[in-house]
């Protein structure tokens, strides 16, 4: 009886004798794939961690970045970070009026609460102008 013809083998006659496998080769192959993926993830995570923009950078981008989509991304990031939560209505109004048109349209459509938060400042200004 060959080594492949174990009594509990359900299909002994179909088993090819492949000899001793090179287990080390399989382990080496898996290690290489793991190393490549691990290095990719580690380097990526480090780069991301080092490049996270501060609130001030985002504010600057929302006002002045040349790419319109980057401006909108920055404005969105400020909203989800809660940057405007503790700001005065005057500050919010100044931002809404100072950003480029595409950011203003975006904030009006996606975050109407921001315009509502700025309303008291607008009302006060209009009253002062009268």
């Amino acid at each position: 009886m060959s080594e492949t013809d174990a009594p509990d083998d359900p299909r002994p006659d179909e088993a090819p004798d492949l000899g001793a496998p090179d287990l080390g080769a399989v382990r080496r192959r898996e290690r290489r794939v793991l190393t490549i993926l691990g290095v990719l993830l580690a380097v990526g995570a480090l780069v991301v961690w080092l490049t996270i923009p501060s609130d001030e950078t985002l504010l600057e981008r929302a006002y002045h970045h040349e790419d319109p989509e980057t401006r909108v991304e920055a404005a969105q990031a400020l909203v989800v970070r809660g940057y405007w939560m503790d700001r005065s209505p005057e500050e919010i109004l100044a931002f809404l009026e100072g950003v480029p048109e595409n950011v203003r349209v975006f904030l009006r459509d996606a975050h109407p609460a921001l315009a509502r938060a700025a309303r008291p400042a607008r009302v006060r200004r209009e009253a002062a102008q009268k």
Partner: protein
């Protein structure tokens, strides 16, 4: 020995022949075998898609379309869900304009065919060609799934990634560590990553799937049959856990979601792997209000004392304590943490209520109701599709009956499927992971991840690839059947109410 891209492996084709050939297989499943069932699947889904075209978006449909539209228009994502589906809608809107919803329905038909082909291959891997064909037919005609092609919900896209991921994991377990190509675990993890980018709850499934991979690759029957003494010692029973291949699956998953996680880090200044839905889920699921999305739009549903709306369901829940409203955080990512902590305090303060409501969530999860029944109820305007009471009632009834039928056939298949050990453990794990959502919320849409594997198990049983089950397996299947049947009792009222509304 053949050469892989990095090193030598044993003759893969010889191992594949042993590993991938089901017991009753005379010739493998071919594309020709699937033309008819998947053709019927396409026709049925196109018919449903056309019927739902032009209907007003309902529930989450409107939110998905709005998010996709805003992404396309402004170039940024503003939602809290996983981004995959809104991104697809936004891309399609860029091409199809106002017809984006209808174009999405047709794209979902194509995705459904892709999913069906993979599902048939899973069934064929364990039950042979006949099981593959039966699975394709069952998938084609299973209405609760077919209807998702016609609705603007993420399920079609999600299954188009999850089912291939399941296929590659199962095939990996079937081939074994030595015979599988080097890219198999990468593809499995990659598809899982894509599924997570479509539905965040895939993360619940990730670690069990990785652990399953490590165990499934230990002791492999094909390797046992094929190798010499050292081969057998390494590969069968006493062999090591497949930790390295499992880690490859995990890292591949992380590589796929990494770009979105990086975007989230820049956006929130926090680690947010996929989305920020957990906070809203904790607020609705770990709280006092009762939300069953399958009953949305039913005026009587709010009245829990009505026998039709489900008196038993109301009795199970019992007296509800005062709900919590939670703290407000500035950063949306912090809001998730606050809600989870507040929800956990609510559970600690009312453990009895929490456990009773989990019974109700389980009943809602396995209810014969489904999202298409809800959608048919909501589409009732004169001149809209399915405005005829008879067509809606019959479609609703067939949909309601198909779920119990699938559950019983799948349990039969789970108990009796021959030569299907990895499939059985994988299906068990998937069902347990899917059912674990009841600890947050439960309704028929959330059971979708387990449906493809239930279809595969049912198809294997129907195709005759069966063996005499062990006593333990019979006991587990019987117990599961009893639990599910008992869980249907609270749903009988809502199901009857839904059908009477459809007429």
């Amino acid at each position: 020995m053949s050469q892989s891209f990095i090193g030598p492996t044993p003759d893969r084709r010889a191992l594949d022949r042993l590993a991938l050939r089901a017991e009753n297989e005379r010739r493998p499943l071919g594309a020709v075998d699937l033309i008819l069932p998947l053709g019927v699947a396409a026709v049925l889904r196109i018919a449903l898609a056309v019927a739902f075209m032009g209907t007003a978006p309902m529930g989450d449909e409107a939110s998905y379309l709005r998010l996709g539209g805003a992404w396309q228009e402004h170039g940024t994502y503003t939602g809290s869900w996983a981004p995959g589906y809104p991104w697809l809608i936004g891309t399609v809107q860029g091409m199809a304009g106002e017809q984006a919803a209808n174009a999405m329905r047709l794209i979902q038909v194509i995705l459904a065919i892709w999913t069906g082909a993979y599902l048939a291959r899973v069934a064929a891997m364990f039950g042979g060609r006949r099981a593959g064909v039966v699975a394709a037919w069952a998938y084609a005609l299973y209405l609760p799934l077919a209807a998702f092609s016609a609705m603007i919900y993420s399920e079609s896209l999600f299954l188009a990634a999850l089912v291939p991921a399941s296929y590659h994991l199962l095939r990996f377990a079937r081939e074994g560590r030595l015979a599988a190509p080097w890219w198999r675990p990468i593809l499995a993890g990659g598809f899982l990553g894509l599924a997570a980018l479509t539905r965040e709850s895939t993360v619940l499934f990730l670690f069990p799937a990785v652990l399953w991979t490590a165990f499934a690759l230990r002791g492999h029957p094909a390797e046992k049959r094929a190798g010499g003494r050292s081969f057998r010692l390494w590969a069968h029973g006493s062999g090591p856990l497949g930790l390295a291949p499992a880690a490859i699956v995990l890292l591949s998953f992380l590589c796929v979601i990494a770009p979105w996680t990086a975007r989230n880090a820049h956006m929130f200044n926090r680690l947010v792997p996929v989305g920020v839905t957990a906070g809203a889920n904790a607020k609705s699921g770990w709280n006092a209000p009762d939300i069953n999305f399958d009953l949305a739009g039913l005026p009587v549903a709010a009245d829990q004392s009505s026998p039709l709306a489900g008196q038993l369901r109301a009795r199970l829940r019992g007296e509800a304590p005062a709900p919590w409203h939670g703290r407000t955080a500035a950063n949306r990512a912090d809001q998730v943490r606050y809600n989870v902590i507040d929800g956990a305090h609510f559970i600690a303060d009312h453990p009895g209520f929490f456990l009773r409501t989990r019974l109700v969530e389980f009943a809602d999860l396995v209810s014969p109701l489904s999202f298409v029944v809800r959608q048919l109820r909501l589409v009732d305007g004169v001149g809209e599709p399915f405005s005829s009471g008879a067509s809606r009632w019959w479609l609703g009834l067939l949909t309601i009956l198909s779920w119990p039928l699938l559950v019983f056939l799948a349990l039969w298949g789970w108990a009796t499927a021959r030569d299907a050990h990895p499939l059985r453990t994988f299906a068990t794990m998937t069902v347990l992971c899917t059912s674990s959502v009841i600890f947050i919320s439960g309704f028929s849409r959330l059971r979708i991840p387990m449906v493809p594997l239930l279809i595969v198990l049912a198809a294997i049983a129907l195709s005759g690839s069966r063996e005499r089950p062990s006593v333990q397996r019979r006991a587990v299947a019987s117990l599961a059947a009893v639990v599910v049947v008992l869980a249907w009792l609270p749903s009988l009222g809502p199901a009857g109410l839904s059908l009477s509304e459809l007429w």
